[in-house]
């Protein structure tokens, strides 16, 4: 193991108040659109925001000078959006990001699209050229509301300093109510500079937005009868269970009625993965037993999932003999991909409670439960790690899991490493697995770790399990982690490939590795040092534990570059569009 370190410059203790009590937050005085904007954020209880400066957003930044809101300056706006997104997933509070007009706003796009796919509450505030220049192709002008309309829950073009604060408040309220999602307010410079002394009201959702909390009682009763008489009932918990803070009631329901549980990938942690009833997550790289259960159930009780194709595989063969109960707060998700025999629209937690009350006896499903346990034994998640072969990524993930507390938070990039992280880490609680699911955004992991660190209570470790390719996409955010001295550990599963692509080339393109290999890749431990973080390189099994221990012990950002077996591929695998229970256990089964 080679260890190279550069200590970050000692930060001066100037901020130490010497034991004095913290000063009371001084609310912003509203004098113009910008101060009104900041005031609206204060009213909404926002504490942290992530962003990058620039001409058109400068008035808002200037207003932040007088506010107690914490602003974390990011290296790139994509990082700001991902950090805000992860901040939301970990804390449940809306994540806020700021960018200037033009390139600042367009750099947010990937992060907003990501938040939109994963239903994360992110509020973006973008600067815009003054209104009299809008439409003239002015310097750094883009049609931000036009560009972001398809990837936000709603967006706003502020046109009046008197009402901009209310608009910002509405954007914040809307982002986290009902089915969460990203919102954006475009702020022309004449509006933020425009004088006003009007206090914004408390944040309110628009009157046309009225999500339904409770499901129809008669529909609940019908679904309850179906549960009582099911022979092979199966619960499917999605990300909606996390968003609705419904994990506890959902677990209670499963345990009380003794019904096996699979999760989706965003639903990881809603049921403890070491619980007998939990079959872990289903889908393309889900466990064999979860996928067997999904396709053999006669009653699928799906809560807070949108039946993404990475979960369902081919529609024709998805849970082909199951009736479906679908609980979701968003009516548009009901029967979008999979027809719901029992649609239950409402808040996941509330509807599961309703179901809990309505079911009078547990289904008679002893045989089915046994069958699920048999599948668990038949298709173990396992890997071979012979000493004479290069380091296996699964081993690294398990070693990290072991070395950290149960409270540890894991973020990831996108690729094989993401799959190994979700397969071989045992998650016991929601809001601990922070990843880019619906959009599959490489580069999500590091900025997400920054957002997660700022949202986390303090004691829990934040570990980013990244790929070499994904890490390179947002590596600049390491500068932020160093500057803010954020205690995060980045574990790169370095296969010198954009590995997931290479895996598909092996399987479906006759091994033609077009644009998949890195014939040259930076030494990430040295790169970490150059940024002022600490770095390790690990090549062998016997170096793994020590490097992890040292990295976790270091109070600040650290990067471990694990050089893993470049040929290792992710299994099980449901080929896209295939039947879930026909997952391949190795390449020759594809």
């Amino acid at each position: 193991m080679s260890e190279r370190t550069t200590q970050p410059p000692e930060t001066e203790e100037a901020t130490d108040t010497g034991g004095e009590t913290e000063p009371e937050p001084t609310p912003t005085t509203v004098t113009d659109g910008a101060t009104s904007t900041v005031r609206a954020l204060e009213n909404a209880g926002i504490e942290v925001m992530f962003g990058v400066q620039g001409g058109a957003i400068m008035p808002v930044y200037d207003a932040l000078w007088d506010s107690d809101l914490r602003h974390v300056m990011m290296a790139h706006e994509q990082g700001a959006a991902h950090a805000a997104d992860a901040y939301n997933v970990v804390s449940g509070q809306p994540g806020v990001c700021l960018a200037t007009s033009g390139p600042g706003a367009t750099n947010l796009v990937t992060g907003l699209a990501d938040a939109n796919m994963d239903s994360d509450a992110v509020v973006a505030l973008t600067g815009q050229v003054p209104q009299h220049m809008v439409g003239s192709d002015a310097f750094q002008e883009t049609d931000t509301t036009g560009i972001t309309a398809p990837i936000t829950k709603n967006n706003y073009f502020a046109s009046d300093p008197d009402t901009v604060g209310d608009t910002v408040g509405e954007a914040v309220a809307l982002a986290s109510s009902g089915r969460p999602g990203p919102t954006l307010v475009d702020l022309p410079k004449d509006v933020t500079n425009g004088e006003t002394d009007r206090e914004p009201g408390m944040p309110q959702t628009p009157e046309t937005y009225t999500p339904q909390d409770e499901a129809d009682e008669a529909a609940v009763a019908e679904a309850a009868r179906a549960i009582e008489s099911a022979e092979k009932p199966l619960l499917l918990f999605g990300g909606g269970v996390v968003k609705a803070n419904a994990s506890d009631v959902a677990r209670e329901f499963a345990i009380e009625y003794d019904i096996p549980v699979v999760t989706t990938m965003p639903g990881i942690g809603t049921m403890p993965e070491d619980h007998d009833l939990c079959l872990s997550w289903a889908g393309m790289h889900g466990t064999g037993y979860a996928n067997m259960a999904i396709n053999h159930t006669d009653l699928l009780i799906a809560v807070g999932t949108r039946f993404d194709d990475r979960l369902t595989g081919g529609i024709e063969t998805f849970a082909p003999s199951a009736e479906v109960i679908h609980v979701d707060i968003d009516p548009a998700e009901i029967s979008k991909n999979i027809h719901a025999d029992y649609p239950l629209i409402g808040d996941a937690g509330r509807v599961v409670e309703q179901l809990h009350d309505a079911v009078s006896e547990a289904p008679d499903a002893d045989e089915w439960r046994e069958q699920c346990q048999t599948w668990k034994a038949e298709y173990p998640m396992d890997y071979a790690a012979p000493d004479d072969e290069p380091l296996k990524p699964q081993f690294v993930v398990e070693a990290l899991d072991e070395a950290t507390s149960d409270e540890a938070i894991v973020t990831s990039g996108v690729g094989q490493h993401q799959m190994w992280a979700s397969q071989y880490w045992t998650f016991r609680d929601p809001r601990k697995w922070i990843s880019s699911h619906g959009l599959g955004t490489m580069g999500y992991g590091l900025p997400a770790a920054i957002g997660a660190r700022l949202a986390a209570d303090g004691d829990e470790e934040v570990v980013c399990i990244d790929g070499d390719g994904s890490f390179l996409m947002t590596v600049e955010e390491l500068s932020v982690a160093v500057r803010e001295n954020l205690d995060i550990t980045v574990a790169i599963l370095n296969n010198e490939y954009i590995g997931m692509v290479r895996q598909w080339q092996d399987a479906f393109f006759e091994g033609r590795h077009m644009a998949a290999g890195y014939s040259w890749i930076p030494e990430f431990d040295k790169l970490a040092e150059a940024f002022g973080a600490r770095g390790w390189r690990v090549d062998d099994y016997d170096e793994v534990a020590d490097a992890i221990e040292e990295a976790l012990a270091y109070d600040g950002p650290s990067v471990i570059d694990f050089h893993i077996d470049p040929a290792e591929n992710v299994y099980p695998m449901v080929p896209s569009g295939g039947a879930n229970d026909k997952f391949a256990l190795s390449e020759d089964q594809l």
Binding site: N154, I315, I334, D341, D382, Y383, P386, K582
Partner: protein, 196 residues
């Protein structure tokens, strides 16, 4: 090379009975059951603000709903506009279109109109001017009227159902059509039925 994963191979695993169609509906595995498309007229009451129409047309483009026609205009309330949309989709697609529309924040209400609803479209048809009398006679046949006459052309205005306008266009074809413009369908429920 991946090592370690055990278990029966794909072909050795039991296969459940049953099948879904492309809409995700569980069907008899033996039958062919792809739903037929049908025409639906949707009426949406929306906030009268910039960007709403772009949002709605963007939604339909993104979700690949087949728009047959789209009309928009103000209502008696200056803050509200009404959009009439005709789409042709299989049943689950129509439901989905309604729900996706309803989800847009500036959309106040969405209804699908009854088959009996009043549907009207306006067309201006400009035909060759060599036989103005005959053109006038045909226009009358369709309850239309001549709205412009020049040496070279006659323009008639026809309102009515889409089918009626299709028929009129065909008939006028024999004079030689120079230009044509159609508004797309506007629709309201009959009698005391409220549209939204």
């Amino acid at each position: 090379m991946s090592g370690g994963l055990e278990g029966p191979e794909p072909e050795e695993r039991p296969t459940p009975e049953g099948r879904r169609n492309s809409q995700g509906i569980r069907i008899d595995p033996e039958v062919e059951a792809e739903p037929d498309a049908r025409r639906a007229v949707l009426s949406a009451l929306v906030k009268h603000e910039p960007g709403v129409l772009a949002n709605i047309s963007g939604l339909f483009r993104r979700r690949q709903f087949n728009i047959e026609s789209l009309t928009v205009g103000p209502t008696t309330d200056p803050d509200r506009a009404r959009i009439t949309l005709e789409i042709e989709e299989p049943e689950p697609g129509i439901e989905q279109a309604k729900k996706q529309l309803q989800k847009l924040v500036p959309v106040i209400a969405v209804t699908e109109l009854e088959a009996s609803a009043i549907r009207r479209e306006l067309a201006l048809i400009k035909v060759d001017g060599s036989a103005p009398d005959q053109v006038g006679a045909v226009a009358e046949m369709y309850d239309g009227k001549t709205v412009d006459v020049s040496q070279e052309s006659v323009t008639v205005e026809i309102t009515g159902s889409e089918q009626k306008i299709d028929a009129a266009v065909e008939t006028f074809g024999r004079f030689g059509i120079h230009e044509i413009v159609r508004t797309g369908t506007a629709a309201l429920e009959r009698g005391t039925h409220k549209t939204t």
